[in-house]
Symmetry: C2
DNA sequence: GGCTATATGGAGACTGTCTCCGCTTCGACT
DNA sequence: AGTCGAAGCGGAGACAGTCTCCATATAGCC
């Protein structure tokens, strides 16, 4: 009874529909890509388009709701990394890896994420949260001299996003993905010896 | 008269229309982005949609025709670089810079370019040509020990493309673009002293 | 000037996002 | 249990984009 106010704000049938739509969308986006049409999702969920749009006013909102769920597991991973890894440099490395996987939870996801960083969208808050976390983990590494101060959390976020976009979910760019990840890593790592080319 | 066989294969009015459409499209894509609709371009050019599609069977084909023109100036730049720069490492650097500009000739261009690398499209040949050139310039740098052998021309192409995509044409990511470009550069440069993190 | 291959333009098929609104159903109150 | 208003539902259809089809118009060779 004393659930959250959100739960009680929705009639029980609506709650069920909402959850069902999310589950169906998760599978549809996961099996194919975010290109699956809203109408198709409505049909798969056995509801009318109106119902779908009542719960999620546009496609980004649906994606955002799905991503918030995913974000929770990303945050769990963050806690895990921060707890288990005392080396701030290694922690950053693990975090960026987790970040890459998160961004590719659904094929085609990088595009709306990028858009959300430019114009307000339902995905925007999640993006900002991820950037802030990246910033924090980066700073810890910087404070220990394990990462250059030339980069910001935002830079790393965009770097990871760009790599996710370029390599996509298809296997086509497996090698390229690994190489670019390595390039990004080298990019933030503090050179052990002489400074390379600065900004 | 003894122009190319292409010219004589088209009636004069068709030649004129084709050229006019190209010019209009160039301006439209340049002022706004590649999102300008085909219908809008047809209207701007004062022709029917049928005429537009007769000359360019789909949007990618139109983009490809435009890009081929741009590719010529990119190739001029390549010749210029190769002639004027004896340092193979510096040549690579200049080439990647030119590459970045070329990829952002029109806002939104990176997306179709990436798609063309995965599935056949009118843009595919141009992409392959650019990758091959990058490979060649990279190899020259590698042979002089100025670039790591861990990267391929394809990797650098995708790296540049990813950066172009992430920073877009809008000014929003000016800093990020520069930082990422630097990261990419550091990524291919042979470390002067001790080897950093390997693959 | 006549004729035919070539070219044209725009209606409309198709697909996708999203809105609107008449009808249904839940569930609180009696 | 029965009533009833608010919450929810579904799907027709508005709108925008890509691209096709074909009746009509035109260039340019005779």
């Amino acid at each position: 009874m004393s659930q959250s106010s959100i739960a009680s704000a929705l009639r029980r049938d609506a709650q069920h529909n909402r959850a069902h739509i999310l589950e169906v969308a998760r599978q549809a986006f996961g099996n194919d890509s975010v290109d699956v049409s809203m109408d198709a999702i409505a049909k798969l969920a056995g509801v009318g388009a109106g119902t779908l749009y009542r719960h999620f006013p546009n496609k980004d909102a649906l994606l955002a709701a799905l991503l918030v769920l995913h974000y929770e597991s990303l945050d769990d991973r963050r806690v895990e990394i921060e707890a288990g890894e005392s080396d701030a440099g290694r922690a950053l490395e693990l975090w960026v890896e987790a970040l890459g996987d998160w961004m590719l939870a659904y094929e085609g996801l990088p595009e709306p994420l990028r858009a959300a960083c430019r114009v307000e969208s339902p995905l925007t808050p999640t993006c900002h949260a991820v950037i802030a976390t990246t910033e924090r983990i980066l700073k810890a590494a910087q404070d220990e001299g394990l990462a250059r101060r030339t980069m910001t959390g935002r830079d790393i976020f965009f770097g990871a996003l760009a790599i996710a976009w370029a390599s996509g979910a298809t296997a086509a760019g497996e090698d390229t993905r690994n190489v670019l990840r390595d390039v990004l890593k080298n990019g933030w790592m503090e050179p052990k010896t002489a400074p390379g080319g600065g900004v």
